[in-house]
């Protein structure tokens, strides 16, 4: 046990923890020292990246320059996974749009949560719950929808190798359900081009799972079908990635500096490694600005493209010009299907809508925060569900209870 006196205004506050913090002091100090060193290296890399960004060639020339990597990407491994300009707009020029009138627009936020299957629970099951908030820009209260699925059959609980399904399989199913709910609600909400419908999901639109076995392929197919249903409804699906990791634009920047003959050998020796795209964007984008559209030539996106659902992305800075956030910019990666940018669909208000949504919640879209709240399966929800299952089993003459280990963990976890 460790007793610490916390400094602060007012009376001293005593915190009691079970962790022996005093034994970790040296490690904590080392962690801070490494973080400071990394930050210094990042600042140096940012200077270089900004210079390269300003010197980017135009979109057509850059795409032509990157062509050998795209060929390699399509065939050989390990593949380059950098960004490629998706349109002819100058790739290095941020775009700023004034806040437009959003009247008539409909933003649907969708998010999901789950209870994982647990061998120690009183019954083997898993649950997926999807919450949606339909934010109509008409001055009224948004609509709220919640859907839930309880899975308990043996064929649903075990995978092809007879293992209990894990977080990846559940994540895939949840992603599909979110898109299906979005398609269902979009079909009801879309009334025509005067009332565009934008469907926001919390996370990437690009299928993030590596294909392993027949099951993953089938799930990707189901996901594509749901994306097509959203398209057919007239709505536009939008993937919102908060705190985006990855460095597709940094890889593109480095590749832009390499001579054509060096591309094949040197693309992986990127000196901008201390950075990721988010850090670079914090230095490049002014409040409210966004980049032009890029695409990533990775195998999953090729499969998306095969189904007419290639995913393009841009970065947007979501702290508006009027907001003071202590100097900390909010960068999000925005993903949409290519047809939404190329076609006649009214994508223009999307950036303004995102800015408005983020304004209320300090950089995160309100409609997604509320969708998460609606979707969330709380500890109390889980306890009530399990009590209901236990009652039903008891009625059927089955005395079900959680394992001793689970019950002990529950007791200890309450501390």
């Amino acid at each position: 046990m460790c007793v610490q006196q916390l400094a602060g205004s007012g009376a001293p506050h005593i915190m009691v923890t079970m962790l022996r913090i005093e034994r970790l002091r040296n490690d904590i100090a080392e962690l801070s020292r490494l973080a400071a060193t990394a930050q210094r290296r990042q600042l140096e890399a940012v200077q270089l990246a900004r210079r390269w960004w300003d010197e980017l060639p135009d979109a057509v020339d850059l795409r032509t320059h990157l062509e050998p990597l795209l060929q390699e990407s399509a065939g050989m491994a390990p593949s380059w996974s950098g960004g490629v300009p998706a349109t002819i707009a100058p790739p290095g020029e941020p775009v700023s749009r004034p806040i437009t009138d959003l009247k008539g627009l409909i933003a649907i936020g969708v998010d999901g949560s789950q209870i994982f299957p647990d061998r120690h629970a009183l019954a083997l099951y898993y649950l997926i719950q999807v919450g949606a908030v339909i934010f109509r820009y008409n001055g009224g209260a948004p609509g709220v929808e919640v859907r839930e699925w309880l899975h308990y059959k043996e064929e649903e609980l075990f995978d092809e190798q007879d293992y209990l399904i894990g977080s990846e399989a559940l994540g895939q199913e949840r992603m599909i359900k979110e898109m299906e709910v979005l398609a269902e609600l979009s079909a009801t909400e879309y009334q025509g081009p005067d009332s565009p419908v934008l469907g926001l999901t919390d996370g990437p639109l690009l299928w993030p799972y590596v294909q392993r076995g027949r099951s993953t392929g089938e799930k990707l197919g189901t996901y594509m079908k749901a994306l097509k249903s959203v398209q057919a409804s007239g709505a536009i699906p939008v993937g919102y990635v908060d705190r985006p990791g990855g460095r597709p634009l940094l890889d593109m920047l480095w590749a832009s500096r390499l001579a054509g003959e060096d591309l094949g050998e040197k693309w992986s020796e990127n000196p901008l490694q201390p950075l990721d795209d988010e850090i670079l964007m914090m230095h490049l984008l002014a409040p409210g600005e966004h980049t032009t559209w890029f695409t990533r030539p990775i195998p999953t996106n090729t499969r998306h493209a095969g189904a007419g659902q290639e995913i393009w992305f841009c970065y947007q800075r979501l702290d508006g010009p009027d907001q003071a956030r202590g100097g900390h910019p909010t960068i999000a990666r925005i993903e949409v299907p290519s047809w939404a940018v190329i076609g006649e669909a009214p994508l223009a208000p999307m950036h303004a809508m995102l800015l408005h949504q983020a304004e209320a919640l300090d950089g995160y879209p309100y409609v997604l925060a509320r969708a998460h709240e609606e979707a969330l399966v709380t500890t109390l929800d889980k306890a009530a569900l399990e009590q209901s299952i236990q009652r039903e089993l008891f009625g059927a003459g089955i005395w079900a209870r959680a394992s001793d280990k689970a019950r002990q963990k529950l007791l200890l976890g309450r501390r």
Partner: protein, 206 residues
Amino acid sequence: MPSTSKVIAIGNVLRADIRGFVIASRIPEPEVPTFGTFVRAPIQHDRAQLIGLVYDIRLQDDPFLRNLAVTVRSGDPAFDEIIADQRDNRVIPVEISVASVAYHYPDDPQCRYGLPPQPPMILHQITVCASEEVHRITRSPDFMRALLDNRDIPADELIPTALLRAAPLHAKAEYDFLLDAGRYLARNLGRDPARLERILQRIAWA
């Protein structure tokens, strides 16, 4: 007598003892029960129903709302939908405290006044009593006994509120109902005239 036979669930039991229980609830603002509402909870493996009165409603800390409070400007049309969402849709985490007053068994028309043999179990669902049930419980002023004995609740406010809530349900005998209640209180609070006067005045002023 107006009927409120629709079942309104307000939450689940969070903790309980013989004298009362606390409900954890996340319900929209219009559905939060008011002070003095009659509610019931299943006890003894659903063999009986415990009746209680809401005597405290605590809004829990809500960091989400705290965040909005500093960014959203009331009256600015840019935030109309968000404010409407908070008021009409969004669930408020509340703790509702209830004092036990009576219990009854389904096959027995008589109410048993006073404290129950067992408290309700954790996570059992609590519902608002229908007006027929409130009428039945308040037929005898004995429903006030457990409240008068409970020093941990604001009984002097709760009793008048409950009486005035129940009185219209005794449509043809509203005056007699309040008169009987007053006599009952006079008998039980004879040694505490100041408290008796305080309660009776609250009934009279209403």
